[in-house]
């Protein structure tokens, strides 16, 4: 290992090991210290290659620090501080450990330089984040967690297959660098498929709303930031300019919007909007120009903060009221005003309102689409932007804090703004959302390429304001159409959820029936004939073979019978025979 370079994941892993031993008031201090140290470590890194380890024939690279990895490392470790602060009231050490290992996995992927190290941390992410679902301990958590794990295990295997094929084809190249996207081979597509599963690109996306809607309140804040955006990092690193990503990204952006209309669970709605927002990043990666890559990175950066903020806001509602569904909430502005303001800031940021973070990042991707003359992508992504405001900017705040009050008396009683630490975390994220949107050099100076883009050009400002405000008009005119319904929406997870059931049914009914019938047939026919055959061979062995080899078996049986008869069962006789034999042996020995 090179001196002066400390892998940020190591700080988190060390923190995980020490955490259970730190009790009392020091626990909270320690909980904040570890993410802050991690952030400072990433912040103070210089560019270069560090942490090179020789393992068998391979050079494993743990620390590739350049502009791309540093900006992702920066935002991930910053989000770790905010997320840990939000979960500071949680006593269970296991929840913090799971979250930190998850972040450690993400940082490990971001700073790695080869596929072996990438795979190690990639799996660490999946296997630690699943605990953030399991710790919810709800009736559905266990099954949801297993589904999440199986899907990610599948994705990991696809990725593994991809880089092993590449290793074979290139004669031993494991380096995690830009792939030859102009001449894609099977290995390119497999690697990309492994990455896009984690980016939740349809049809490999259904794990996301499934798991994030079911995770713990604090766990979802971590999950919404790390898996998909780490996947975006890997896509930018390896697959920038892979054209198939443009239509996939546009489909994602729209798919998430459609499902968000139907959703009644507020955290699942936000989860579908992650798919929608990550669509912009995937499309930007597919376009592959400097502006598009900058846009994808900037949008990932902004997205982590505002989506974290939204999950913190809606998580606070769940934490305080215990309710997930719009049909059980409403009119809460009197009880949770601060949470409303924070969530609204998150909503305005994701909707790309001027002076909020999404405005300066999302527009870069859309502009890159137009500048690369992919007009259909530009227009469809703009359409999805209208949908984003419709749901996250309007529907979420309206149906939780205004609208018809569907709260039960108990819910209304319980509703209040959450504890100080949760509010503080939301305040920090809110500040950053507005700061990024208002002071563009902060974000733009961190991007991989120099930025010549001006988000605040009058034409763009005017375009955005018209789209957003007329979307709001449409929302209020069609408000009754948007009233949430107490339903769930069937998504592509239907295939493996019902497919799994089909497998159970197949095992329980037809396969079990065949097995029973076979056992019965075997007992009735097979066993009888087998016993008859066995009896015949026994007779043959006894009479024919033993007769041929001098009746050894008969003699042994005869001796055995005599001995058996001699055994009367009385101890004194046994002793008598035993002593006699010993005496005979002794006499024979002396005489001879």
């Amino acid at each position: 290992m090179t001196d002066m370079w400390l892998h940020p994941s190591l700080i988190l892993i060390a923190g995980c090991i020490l955490l259970p031993f730190i009790k009392g008031p020091a626990r909270k201090f320690f909980l904040m210290l570890v993410p802050v140290l991690t952030f400072l470590d990433v912040h103070n890194m210089v560019h270069g290659t560090f942490g090179v380890v020789q393992f068998m024939d391979w050079h494993l690279v743990f620390g590739r620090v350049d502009r791309l990895s540093q900006v992702f490392g920066y935002i991930m470790s910053l989000m770790c501080i905010i997320g840990t602060l939000y979960g500071l009231h949680v006593d269970e050490a296991g929840q913090h450990i799971a979250a930190w290992l998850y972040v450690a996995g993400s940082l490990g992927v971001i700073f790695c330089g080869d596929y072996l190290v990438l795979f190690l941390f990639w799996e660490l992410m999946a296997f630690s984040s699943v605990f953030l679902v399991w710790f919810r301990r709800g009736p559905k958590s266990l099954a949801t967690g297993y589904r999440y794990l199986l899907v990610h295990a599948f994705g990991g295997i696809v990725l593994l297959a991809g880089f092993v094929l590449r290793y074979q084809a290139t004669g031993g190249d494991l380096s995690f660098v830009q792939l030859d996207v102009a001449n894609p081979t099977l290995s390119t597509y497999l690697i990309a498929a492994g990455f896009i599963l984690n980016a939740a690109v349809p049809p490999l996306h259904a794990w996301l709303p499934d798991a994030y809607g079911e995770a713990t309140v604090t766990g979802a804040v971590f999950m919404c930031a790390f898996t998909t955006k780490t996947a975006i990092y890997t896509l930018i690193r390896a697959c920038a300019g892979l054209h198939i990503l443009v239509p996939l990204g546009v489909i994602m952006a729209l798919y998430g919007v459609v499902y968000a209309v139907l959703e009644n669970n507020h955290r699942r709605l936000l989860a579908y909007h992650i798919i929608s927002q990550v669509g912009y990043m995937v499309a930007g990666t597919g376009i592959g120009t400097e502006l598009a890559i900058n846009g994808a990175v900037a949008h990932a950066f902004a997205h982590i903060l505002y989506k974290g903020l939204l999950f913190m806001g809606c998580g606070s509602v769940l934490h305080m009221t215990g309710k997930n569904n719009f049909t059980e909430l409403g009119g809460l502005y009197k009880k949770m005003p601060m949470t409303f303001v924070f969530t609204l800031i998150g909503g305005l940021s994701i909707s790309a309102f001027p002076f909020f973070s999404g405005f300066v990042s999302k527009s870069m991707v859309i502009a890159a689409g137009f500048e690369s003359h992919i007009y259909w992508a530009g227009f469809l992504l703009t359409l999805a932007a209208a949908g984003t405001f419709l749901h996250t900017g309007l529907k979420v705040p309206y149906f939780i804090w205004f609208g018809k009050n569907n709260c039960s008396e108990e819910t209304w009683e319980k509703a209040a703004d959450p504890p100080w630490n949760m509010q503080a975390a939301m305040a920090i994220a809110s500040f950053l959302c507005i700061f990024i949107g208002s002071y563009t050099p902060y974000l733009y100076n961190m991007l991989p390429y120099p930025v010549e883009f001006n988000a605040y050009a009058p034409y763009h400002l005017m375009e955005t304001m018209q789209i957003l405000l007329f979307t709001a008009l449409g929302f209020f005119l069609l408000l009754n159409k948007l009233t949430p319904e107490p339903t769930i929406s069937i998504d592509l997870d239907w295939f493996y959820r019902m497919g799994g059931r089909g497998f159970y049914w197949l095992a329980r009914k037809p396969i079990q029936a065949v097995d029973n019938a076979w056992s019965e047939a075997y007992r009735a026919c097979g066993l009888v004939s087998l016993m008859t055959t066995a009896r015949f061979w026994s007779w043959f062995d006894w009479h024919a073979i033993d007769g041929v080899v001098d009746g050894i078996a008969r003699s042994v049986r005869g001796i055995g019978g005599t001995v058996r008869r001699a055994q009367s069962g009385r101890v004194q006789y046994n002793l008598y025979y035993a002593v006699s034999v010993v005496a005979l042996v002794l006499i024979a020995y002396v005489l001879c």
Partner: protein
Amino acid sequence: MNIVKLIDYLRDRLKIIIRISYAVLAMLVLIDATCIDKSHAHTAIEHLPGFWSLFGFVACVVIIILSKWYGHQGIMTREDYYD
């Protein structure tokens, strides 16, 4: 709870707020039609006065109606469907 008071204050004057909102919308279209330099527009259609206003409104209506239609084709189902 100043925020609650502010929200209540605004809710009590909902009619005025709605009128102001309509005025803002009209102003937006007007400014777009008259003052904005559209040389940065990427496509010809964007030169239509109030194009993005129409786009925003139509996008919103299309998203709501198409999504709800899709949802009611059997995609939205009872909450205990998987239980």
